[in-house]
């Protein structure tokens, strides 16, 4: 919260245009842009379901279970993008000390944890069908667990009541340190022996993969990145409004104390 040192106009301006200025709280976190984004995400999910479940042929080796890939790879990619956004937001917070970057980092981490949990869940189902087991402590799964727990820790730290500034600083440091685990997790399949297959995307898009399989994989990636953007914008706006509501309740209490000395206010 920044306090503008310039004198206040006796009458409130119609609507404050300053992005961080004080204006009446909006009653919704949506805007035209997010409604379009949401509609695109929804249409994309429908298209992905049609391509992933019906149009693409089964895989020569994996059979029908290949269809899990069209969700598994996109959800983990969206989670990685989310955690990278968190790291960038954390760096920019420490640099600029602005509430915007802190809340963006936090919002992105929350959505990232959601996508990462989804990845672990659909990965376990896939593992059960292809490997024969839900889980083994092999390198990719172990580093994945470490990454997941780190971001759960990040979210837990943010919920410990403290000053806004302390919370932002501590979580920014965690947000930067935690991202180091992404390349380790991503490369775990190359560095150590494990069960998990090698990288599908970012590095080695399987050259054998082609046709509608490849198209569907990239469609899934696009759709989940859109969905991520849509969710994170809404989550950010909600976080922003929560902060404003907390400030306002404090302002109200101060105003109430002042008003008490002047006149009786009907309850």
């Amino acid at each position: 919260m920044t306090i503008d040192p310039t004198p206040v106009a006796p009458v409130a301006p119609p609507v404050d245009v300053s992005p961080s200025g004080r204006r009446p709280a909006p009653t919704s976190t949506s805007s035209r842009a997010t409604r379009i984004l949401g509609a695109l995400s929804l249409a994309g999910i429908v298209a992905l379901a049609v391509f992933g479940l019906a149009i693409t042929p089964p895989d020569a080796q994996l059979g029908e279970t290949i269809r899990i890939l069209y969700m598994h790879v996109p959800t983990v990619s969206a989670a990685y993008v989310a955690f990278i956004v968190t790291a960038v937001g954390s760096v920019l917070y420490l640099w600029k000390r602005s509430e915007f970057w802190d809340l963006l980092a936090a919002s992105s981490a929350e959505v990232g944890v959601l996508f990462f949990a989804l990845t672990i869940f659909n990965g376990m189902l896939w593992g059960k069908i292809t490997w024969g087991v839900f889980w083994r402590w092999e390198p990719r799964l172990t580093t994945t667990t470490v990454l997941f727990l780190t971001y759960l820790g990040y979210l837990a730290v943010r919920r410990i009541p403290t000053s806004v500034r302390t919370r932002a600083t501590v979580s920014a440091v965690i947000g930067i340190l935690a991202v180091v685990n992404i390349p380790i997790t991503h490369k775990a399949v190359d560095w150590w022996r494990g069960l998990h297959q090698e990288k599908t995307i970012f590095g080695t898009v399987d050259p054998e993969m082609q046709g509608t399989q490849l198209f569907t994989a990239y469609l899934g990636l696009t759709v989940f990145l859109l969905l991520f953007a849509w969710l994170v914008i809404h989550r950010f706006r909600l976080a922003w409004l929560t902060e404003r509501a907390e400030e306002r309740s404090l302002d109200d209490a101060i105003a109430a104390r002042r008003a008490e000395g002047v006149e009786e206010v009907a309850p």
């Binding site: 667990t145 820790g153 022996r193 297959q197 306002r248 002047v262």
Partner: protein, 185 residues
Amino acid sequence: MDVNPSVADDPESPDAAEVTSASERLDLRPRTAQHAADRSRRPWRAGLAVGALVLVVGALVAVLVTGLRDASTFFYNVDEAAARQDDLTGERFRMQGNVVPGSVTTTEDGVSFVITYAGAEVPADHVGDPPELFGPQIPVVLEGTFEGDRFASDEILIRHDNTYDEANPDRIQQAEQDAQQGAAG
């Protein structure tokens, strides 16, 4: 505009005009201090957050200590296991290799087959149903122990690689040819 003079005239309050204008839309008439104290009235939230953090850190330590030890040598390849057979006897470990085509026979409580990697071959007896994708030339990881010269397995894990092919009879034939050549060479 009905401006509350006690607030609007206060030069220290940058919010004065805003508070008044907002009160026209929202019922923001002075409430009791309870509202502002909402957060502090719920100390259990702090406890919950700290408890969650302790759990997460504990789990993290547990994973790093036990998980990474397990993950660092997730399996031995057949040739390595065969070379270290004396050391590994009596120890439970994982062994990775390919199923030799034509070696798979059904036994009364599972399957027997030969597993090979880098020229070494070890016969294996598996107790239980093999997974769906189990078959000739499929890379597998077996969990179990050496019983003499044979490997007694109770879990077969399929190691799928990252090649995806549309199901296609021509390609399946091609894959089988490759497999035969791989086995021969």
